[in-house]
């Protein structure tokens, strides 16, 4: 009894705060990883806000937009914070969401379906970009940017060991052979690196595992989009021999022949991208499989300025395994989106602002200054918008043209993020030598069955 009194008193202090707005303010939030990324996003959002405000003024409305910047580096921490805030009804009206989170967020009731059928802009987004944000027939977000993944290499190191400066690998054996040559002739250089630790999160799935797996899977599976989840059969599909081939590559590279260095990745954990990306510049790493935006990291205003980048950096589309009936060039794309918080008090205004964010003008601007690939066919990359490094924009454009036709996407399923986590654990197990490919894959399949239900998993040869 005595205890209840203070409890009741403290609860009584919890009075709902009555906000009495005079001018309407909507809010937008995003996360950033310190400067210079914060500045780039801020400029882009400010540009969109200016356009939006004048649009609203024409309609006689006085609207303000509050920008909430979250200085959270790790994507998963941002996700946790965002989700906590949404659930508590405190998140911004417009939220920055990674594209593969969309189905999960929709299932949780966090996103507002968008009335895209009344908007001409919607049709200008590439079909795949529309597909990524559509779930159960409704659109829930607008793709802000997209990207491709490829293999970078250092031309100076290649020249030193007699490999071609305009190297175009056509199969996995081309890559492994190049790595072996480098290992023999340049013992202080790490021949190849790709993410193999759980601390790198989705990067390990996207820039690493899928880049190999897609080259081992049957062509039909990849082109139909049913390469991980089969939408026709409604099951998660594991093509056993393709998965084993991929895992064997990890074993070969990181455990058997030490063509890649896993221990520096483990040591650096969440910041493992730093020694890998700076390593290519500093001639410590000869090849790196990573995303198209890394070019921005090597720009004069980037994290690892590389003055000789345009001369010394080589890149090539990632080839398939070379086995019959596999893709010749592989890529998987992602991207970030802006969506509307389902608990917003101003859904119509939020949608109007979202349309501005998703306009060709704003997307062109963002992709030009952040070295991403535009998601609308009428958005163009303009090197003039990025005066400090116009050749990065050109490079980005070249990469897009060479690789976008071959790229695929992650399955839009709410369980996907959890499946991806299991994949990252699988990769780390094999790459650290903790388990062999067969055993690790068996345990992965068991965990997958536990996660989504055994009737939703099918193991194919």
């Amino acid at each position: 009894m005595f205890i209840l009194l203070p409890l009741v008193l403290s609860m009584a202090l919890v009075a709902p705060s009555l906000a009495a707005p005079e001018k309407v303010t909507i809010s937008i939030c995003y996360h950033h990883a310190g400067e210079p990324w914060a500045k780039i996003m801020r400029e882009t959002v400010d540009r969109a806000i200016a356009i939006f405000k004048s649009k609203m003024k024409e309609l006689g409305l006085d609207v303000d937009v509050k920008v909430i910047e979250l200085p959270i580096t790790v994507d998963e921490d941002y996700k946790a914070k965002l989700v906590l805030d949404i659930k508590a009804g405190r998140a911004a009206d417009i939220i920055f969401v990674d594209s593969f989170w969309v189905p999960e967020f929709v299932e949780a009731g966090y996103l507002l379906p968008l009335p895209v059928q009344d908007w001409t802009g919607w049709g200008k987004f590439y079909p795949a970009m529309r597909g990524m944000v559509t779930y159960k027939g409704k659109a829930y977000a607008l793709m802000f940017d997209t990207d491709v993944r490829l293999i970078y290499y250092n031309k100076v190191l290649f020249k030193k060991v007699g490999l071609p400066e305009d190297w175009r690998p056509r199969s996995w054996s081309d890559i492994i052979e190049a790595a072996r040559i480098i290992k023999k002739k340049l013992p202080d250089v790490t021949p190849i690196q790709f993410y193999a630790i759980t601390a790198q999160g989705e990067a390990t799935s996207m820039q690493s595992f899928y880049m190999w797996l897609l080259g081992a899977l049957p062509k039909e599976a990849v082109t139909s989009g049913n390469w991980l989840y089969d939408f026709k059969r409604g099951k998660w599909v594991i093509y056993k021999s393709a998965w084993l081939d991929t895992l064997k590559i990890y074993k070969l590279v990181f455990v058997d022949e030490k063509l890649g260095d896993i221990s520096i990745q483990l040591e650096k954990g969440g910041t493992a991208w730093q020694p890998l990306q700076s390593g290519v510049r500093d001639r410590k790493v000869a090849m790196l499989i990573d995303g198209s935006w890394v070019v921005c990291g090597w720009s004069p205003i980037g994290v690892f300025p590389w003055p000789a980048r345009d001369k010394e950096l080589g890149w090539a589309p990632m080839p398939g395994s070379g086995k019959p009936d596999t893709m010749k060039i592989v890529c998987v794309s992602g991207g970030w989106t802006y969506a509307i918080n389902a608990f917003t008090k101003h859904p119509l205004l939020a949608w109007e602002f979202l349309k501005v964010l998703g306009s060709a003008d704003v997307i062109s601007y963002w992709c030009s200054v952040s070295v991403h690939i535009p998601t609308r066919e009428d958005a163009t990359l303009n090197p003039k918008l990025f005066p400090k490094d116009p050749s990065a924009v050109k490079l980005n454009d070249e990469m897009a043209k060479a690789i976008m036709p071959y790229t695929t996407y992650r399955p839009a399923r709410p369980e996907y993020p959890k499946v991806s986590t299991l994949i990252q654990q699988l990769v780390e197990k094999v790459a650290t030598g903790a388990a062999g490919p067969e055993a690790a894959l068996d345990s992965f399949v068991a965990q997958l069955k536990k996660l989504v239900g055994p009737e939703n998993v099918e193991v194919l040869p």
């Binding site: 409890l7 659930k87 949780a108 759980t198 601390a199 483990l266 954990g269 709410p414 993020p417």
Partner: protein, 290 residues
């Protein structure tokens, strides 16, 4: 009568703020935690919109969860290694050895020990990251005797955090035992010296029994504290590599905040709480039995 009433009135006033803060930030959240652990509440996916009451399912699932046993085992080793063997024995030993001393050597040594204890958690985590790094001081020193650079946190992660925890916490046990020894009348020790008792015998038959109560107090405190360690370990290793330093508190955190499964995460945390309960009860019984 009226005086007693006045007393009670003042008592209530003096206790009220504390009680309010505790109910708001401890009592209620604990109950919330227990209730949530009985649901499948998640922050994402369908269970975010429609959480279901699942009874003891989360707890039962833990029984068949290899990560749960793994993290529990790791934590037990962590507690035994760093607290019981490390901090306790080291603290006791140093306290006995330095009884009555106060010279410069003593001041330097104990000053260092204490500084390692007061150092803020984040700084502690990062200087050990630097110390154990591949190009860090430990490897620099080892290279002088020909031992190649070893990435300690990658190859010996559990041992590394055990040693780091011993470094951090020994000062507390030492301070406790030093004060305890000081509160014992000096004459008792002097008598032992005159009688020609050996160091070891003196420690075993006189010193230790005299401070038995302090020994038990110290053990219980450092056991509980070590078992509940989270911040700096997470900052240093994130529970890895490959879950090799996944203390049970870190596992609870990962389930709740990385995988966003609040129900199962709460169940793990409640299990930690129950283990704390068990240890505390054991301690009280020991104290009562004095």
């Amino acid at each position: 009568m009226s005086k007693k009433d006045k007393n009670i009135f003042f008592y209530i006033i003096m206790v009220l703020p504390a009680l309010m803060l505790m109910s708001l930030f401890l009592l209620f959240p604990t109950f919330w935690g227990v209730i949530i652990s009985l649901t499948d509440l998640s922050l994402l996916g369908p269970s975010a919109r429609h959480p279901k009451f699942v009874g003891l399912l989360n707890y039962i699932n833990l029984l068949s969860d290899p990560l749960f046993y793994h993290s529990l085992t790791l934590t037990v080793w962590f507690v035994i290694g760093s607290a019981i063997i490390g901090q306790f024995l080291l603290g006791l030993f140093i306290a006995i050895i330095t009884y009555g001393k106060g010279d410069l050597l003593f001041k330097i040594a104990t000053g260092l020990m204490i500084t390692s204890w007061i150092l803020p958690e984040t700084v502690f985590a990062y200087i050990w990251l630097a110390y154990l790094g591949r190009d860090g001081l430990l490897n620099q020193l080892l290279r002088l005797v020909g031992v190649g650079p070893i990435p300690w946190l990658v190859e010996y992660p559990l041992q590394s955090i055990i040693v780091a925890n011993i470094w951090r916490g020994t000062a507390w046990s030492w301070m406790l035992f030093s004060s305890a020894l000081k509160s014992v009348p000096k004459e008792i020790f002097d008598v032992a010296d005159v009688d020609g008792v050996s160091l070891w015998q003196k420690a075993r038959y006189i010193t230790i029994p005299l401070i038995k109560r302090h020994i038990v107090t110290d053990l219980i405190l450092i056991t509980l504290w070590t078992f509940n360690q989270f911040g700096w370990v997470y900052a240093m290793t994130g529970g890895g590599p490959a879950f090799r330093t996944l203390l049970i508190t870190i596992y609870a955190y990962l389930r709740a905040f990385k995988y966003l499964e609040l129900g199962p995460g709460a169940a793990i945390a409640i299990v930690v709480f129950l283990i704390n309960l068990f240890v505390t009860i054991a301690y009280l019984k020991l104290i009562r039995g004095e």
